[in-house]
């Protein structure tokens, strides 16, 4: 654990320059607007340790890995999000001295990520070798209103310096990618061009032919007055921009505002890209900082008014949960069905930006609760659009009859993971994708999705499970061999309870949905059945499997057994592992982890959460008590889900401790790798821990249910929920609950199992 940040309700603050934390800070202070994003690299030259990172959502690179994977069914490409040309550069010189925080003397450094307004600000005093002292303030944001625009304001006040201060605002195409296996170059720089008032760099990925263009314009102020100085144009092979400066006296201030347009062929034709970028940059410059920033903060203000979680009297938790929401919205705002959750936000290349089953397990609930149903529907549609690739993927693995296996990690529906343990073994993802359809409909009531997309997907998944199970003569039941469950500190196990359970659940749910769609729109149903060559007879086998599946049980204590053979493992609890060996993923070899009882993230317990109606509280408690001690929580989503379950079974102290670890996972660098990027899916799990855990929210019979359990440390907490056409604000104190029907018609809300009808616009206050 590496705490060095200050607590604050609305900001993340680094006081004093923590040079040895620079990589971590670059991740933690990263900003994004759902389309583009950037690590908190310094604008000016920095000779210290740094990892540049500028990312465009949807631009990725399929690195050829055929040499490594000659086995059947292995991916021959590894898709990955790639570092793009750096649009944030503003180098600074005092006469001939280049500002560099690694070598200059730095005082009063303060870096603040203002989450309320979505702006990153840095102030410091710096003294050069020659003793020249300046005070600096740098602010930047990526506009939430115009998602192709970024702006940086770089202000320097001379404290003792007389001479020339010059700025070099640049687009830099000298790109290093961290995540290349072969040290491949991913970009061709097609053109750099600097006109009188705008400069651009145009690049192309060497595969997939994504085009990218960043254009910059600027204004320069001295003592708040606009300067009109002819800049030097910079137009190198891989760098474009300007060099511009002015002489200052002691006490004087110069300020350069850089307006950047960041555009790509995802949204524009290749031919018009450079022109579009230049125009957008110039238009932004014309608009000016204040207006751009005003439009930007207006979006954030609206977001916070609808999504904030307030925690009274726990600053660490308050700060962190806002940070979690902030980063979730920065990574995905639901506007694009071609995109999905980048688990590393725009903060690094570690997880290659690929979408995994975390989307269905924890992210969809967050977006369901916070944005209108289109957002969640887009996340579902992302998968539906990949159905034909999932069917192809299953066919490669030997499945027939339109069975689908969705990829373990993907950008575009193609399997992008080249570890067979995951791509072939972690098949529970297929169940979670089915579950997300259930969850979405339960939440939104949008049964039309089932008719349009969902049923087709469900049948393809049911067909997969049907072929993937196997009848064990010995057990006289169906079994599923060779999987890794959600806890992938296992590999190639037989009868992972979670997988068997979600397989059975999928089969049953699909049968239900068939009946439902028949009733909703029999004509469309018949057309679909024809299209996918389906007959009702298929469901006989599904029922048979669902009724005769084997589930492993621990006969010693009546708990569910994670998988066959779990009891033979070397039993060690997380608390017994010396601090120096944590995280075990960085200290233990894979075999040692595999044969120990250590659990990476909830497996049986994830099932108990998803299917909680099937289990009484005592059963959940017994399983929690058995599995929690083995769990090392070496995944970001782990603490949040455990916290949620702890809340629900009345282990409030536990829930609180786990929640803090969940929401502060990256701020406190619990995984010891935040330097490489954030873990955004865990942030969604933190939100769930508050809303579904402490708030106890459930959706049953088209209604919301709450069973609040407020942690002893808290005076109150509140959150807002979008539910169907309503927006509701919930405020829970120790002894009362206040629910406001902010928007929408009258609605029934159940609190502690008592129904309350809250009229439109009204507020309910009840004693708890």
């Amino acid at each position: 654990m590496n705490k060095y940040l200050q607590y604050d309700p609305w900001s993340i603050i680094e006081e004093g320059f923590q040079e040895n934390k620079q990589l971590a800070s670059e991740s933690i202070f990263s900003i994004g607007n759902g389309q583009i994003g950037q690590r908190a690299n310094f604008e000016e030259f920095y000779s210290g340790e740094t990892q540049l990172g500028s990312y465009i959502g949807g631009i990725y690179f399929p690195e050829n890995i055929a040499n490594l994977n000659k086995k059947i069914g292995y991916s021959s490409n590894s898709e990955k999000i790639i570092n793009a040309p750096n649009w944030s550069v503003i180098n600074v010189r005092l006469n001939d001295e280049k500002l560099d925080l690694a070598t200059w003397d730095v005082k009063n450094f303060r870096r603040v990520l203002n989450m309320r307004e979505g702006i990153l600000e840095r102030t410091f005093e710096a003294t050069s070798f020659k003793g020249h002292r300046i005070q600096v303030n740098v602010k930047r944001f990526l506009s939430m209103a115009e998602t192709e625009v970024g702006a940086i304001s770089f202000t320097i006040k001379s404290l003792n310096f007389e001479g020339r201060i010059s700025f070099q605002p640049l687009i830099d195409g000298e790109i290093i990618n961290q995540n290349t296996i072969y040290n491949e170059t991913f970009w061709n720089i097609l053109q750099t061009k600097t006109e009188q008032d705008v400069s651009f760099l145009w690049a192309q990925t060497r595969k997939k032919d994504f085009h990218f263009c960043a254009a910059l314009s600027y204004v320069l102020y001295k003592n708040n007055e606009l300067l009109n100085i002819n800049p030097t144009k910079i137009e190198k092979e891989k760098v474009a921009g300007f060099s511009v400066g002015t002489d200052v006296k002691i006490g004087e201030t110069v300020c350069l505002n850089k307006y950047i347009a960041i555009t790509s062929s995802l949204k524009h034709s290749r031919e018009e890209l450079t022109e579009y970028a230049c125009n957008l940059s110039l238009a932004s410059q014309k608009k000016g900082w204040n207006q751009l920033f005003g439009e930007h903060t207006a979006v954030w203000h609206k977001i916070w008014s609808e999504m904030d979680i307030m925690i009274d009297s726990d600053l660490a938790a308050q700060q962190a949960i806002r940070y979690n929401i902030f980063q979730l919205i920065q990574t995905y705002n639901g506007n694009d069905e071609k995109q999905n959750i980048n688990p590393g936000v725009f903060s690094g290349e570690k997880l290659n930006g690929l979408t995994r089953w975390d989307t269905e397990a924890v992210c969809i609930p967050f977006y369901l609760g916070n944005l209108n149903q289109n957002t969640a529907r887009n996340l579902l549609t992302f998968r539906f659009k990949h159905l034909s690739k999932a069917i192809q993927n299953a066919a490669i693995l030997g499945f027939e009859n339109g069975a689908a296996l969705f990829p373990a990690a993907t950008f575009n529906g193609k399997e992008s993971i080249n570890e067979w343990e995951k791509s072939f073994g972690e098949i529970h993802r297929n169940g979670l994708i089915a579950y997300s359809i259930f969850d979405y409909i339960r939440y939104t009531g949008d049964e039309n999705y089932l008719v349009e997309c969902g049923l087709q997907e469900l049948i393809a998944i049911a067909r997969f499970w049907k072929q993937r199970v196997n009848f064990s003569e010995e057990k006289n039941q169906f079994v599923i061999c060779g999987v890794a469950g959600p806890n992938n500190y296992e590999c190639n196990v037989n009868n992972n309870w979670f997988t068997n359970h979600i397989a059975v659940w999928t089969l049953k749910f699909t049968i239900e949905c068939i009946e439902k769609v028949k009733k909703l729109d029999n004509e469309k149903f018949e057309a679909l059945m024809h299209e996918i060559n389906f007959s009702d007879d298929e469901t006989f086998a599904w029922k048979n499997i669902a009724e005769n599946m084997y589930f492993p049980v621990n006969n010693n204590n009546g708990t569910i057994l994670q998988q066959d053979g779990f009891l033979d493992k070397f039993k060690i609890k997380a608390s017994e592992i010396p601090e120096s060996q944590l995280p075990v993923s960085m200290h233990w070899t894979r075999d040692r982890i595999l044969r120990s009882s250590l659990i990476k993230q909830p497996d049986v317990l994830l099932g108990m959460f998803l299917f909680e109606d099937n289990f009484d509280k005592e059963t959940i408690s017994r399983n929690y008590d058995y599995y929690e001690p083995f769990t090392v929580h070496e995944s970001a989503i782990s603490y949040g889900i455990h916290s949620l379950i702890a809340s629900r079974i009345g282990k409030e102290q536990n829930a609180m401790e786990l929640f803090l670890k969940s929401c502060r996972y990256d701020l406190d660098d619990l995984s010891c790798d935040v330097a490489e990027g954030l873990h955004v899916t865990g942030m969604a799990a933190s939100w769930m821990a508050v809303v579904h855990g402490f708030g106890g929210m459930q959706i049953k019979n088209d209604q919301l249910y709450f069973t609040p359990r407020i942690p002893v440390e808290w005076n109150a907490f509140s959150f807002t929920i979008h539910f169907r056409l309503n927006v509701l604000n919930f405020h829970f104190e120790k002894e009362k609950a206040i629910v406001q029907n902010v928007k929408g018609s009258d609605i029934f809300v159940n609190i502690n199992n008592k129904p309350f009808n809250i009229l439109s616009g009204n507020l309910l206050e009840i004693k708890l």
Copy 2:
């Protein structure tokens, strides 16, 4: 299966140029002398499909794979045998036309690998575009007598051509390696130099600093008369040699003999390498073809006189078993304890030339039976010298107290495999290394090895097993989780019977050996115990484990169970798989293989062979009947071991079929990948199938036992065995056995459990 070769008792013959089999032929016709080796690439230019391969035993390259393996304990290098500069090149021109079998018209092509004399010969007629017709004969060998010398004789007779025939004998440093992941260049060419009468190329590996120098000299004959023509010297950046030619008339013959010295820093200092190579080449040229070849064939004649297996009336088997012996001796002749078995012989890069547990399972028995005990002892010492690295390797995996885990595949003791399933999971190799000590001592009686090396190794292995087992509260027995047994169509299974069995066996054997060494040399024993900090108390835990190990059983039929969970698998027999899906390793995805009952190679059955004294014939039969049908034999050693077991349990027809597949595995390309290289360890298994299977050889109580079971198809078979100080020849017919005590003192030999004392030099003939 791809049969295209002719049957012959002593030769491998390709009749007519099989262009589409060229890659396979290059492997099958490869030659070597235990130190150097070469695929059967054509000497002259060939524009068709070809994979050049020239190899030096002991020269390898550690390719950096750190980018791929960021997990703890993974290898950061992948060591591999690498293709060396090609010393075999002799380009040929008729005036301006370059001989090229891919484009010229070829007739009467015949390629013969004469195994009796160890020479590769090629004859053909070729017609150029211009209609020029020549008759060609090319012979080459790598001297078994002088293992740094190779010679090629290239003879051309003009059939209708008048003009200039020129030869370019070269050393070519333009090297392509098949097995590089990163398309790395492995060699630096340090120098090429061509003097008046000798030319050399000096190269260095880019890592490990191995130096290599090949030097060539030649003589040119016309109509059998020596020509003294000034050659053109060739001295390019990466190519050295000569160009020399002469005018011919129709019916005339020219012949170029090329004498190559192939030397490396493994045997010579870097400074003297080029001089040494040049001198050796010139000395060989001076010696001349006949003398060199005579010395070479003398070695082969001696080898055959001592190691031949004669099979009367089965040409396919006769040819193949000789081919097996021939390739085994070509790959390893026991002279160098720093080398071990290269499982691909010198025929390709497929298995990277790394030593695996096949050495202990099947190769050591072959060398024990065929060469003096030093050869096998060298193979054992190879492992002993790596003991400290094996202890380091285990320490990385978390083992303490001097526990050793030998690598899954290695050149130098370091783990060179980067698949955790193998490096962390296939730990039975540790047991097989212990077993080889038992086997060696049982065979040779050399108990001194135990005192000098063996006991120290055994204790380190016992310490490994002690820590690797785990007490299962549920089973109330010791278990071993997370392994892959010899059948690595499994991964991360619990309680692989073979592994559990060999672990227990090792513990018991080590305890026995401790007592034995105490008696043999208590002083050395005490010193060793001090050195490795051993006290007898450690054995209590070993005994406890040995007495309380869990072994899985199939309760349905009383067979041994390959591992826990085997019965849940999808049951499919090898015979049920369509031909088009074989081998499954090339058609099925890994998960599908893993969750099927298919077995790659003997696992339970390997244990039944190694520890056959523990099982009655009925038990072995029952297990054979259960497991054989699941076995797809997609490993070279599989058929041989199954054949051997089938012999022993009286399934002669089965044994015969399996034996033929074993010995002709490469000749008939059963694995469909012979183009990439031969499978030499399987050849050792073929030998075992004859001697231990059909011959029924066992060693018990310091004596040889035979229970011959001659296949119905055979009239007779015979083989020679080196046993301690004796050399014995065995000849079995259907109704009689003849044993000749060729060398050594009187000896007891048991045939069908009857002891016979055979006096020195005498011959025993008995009825069967």
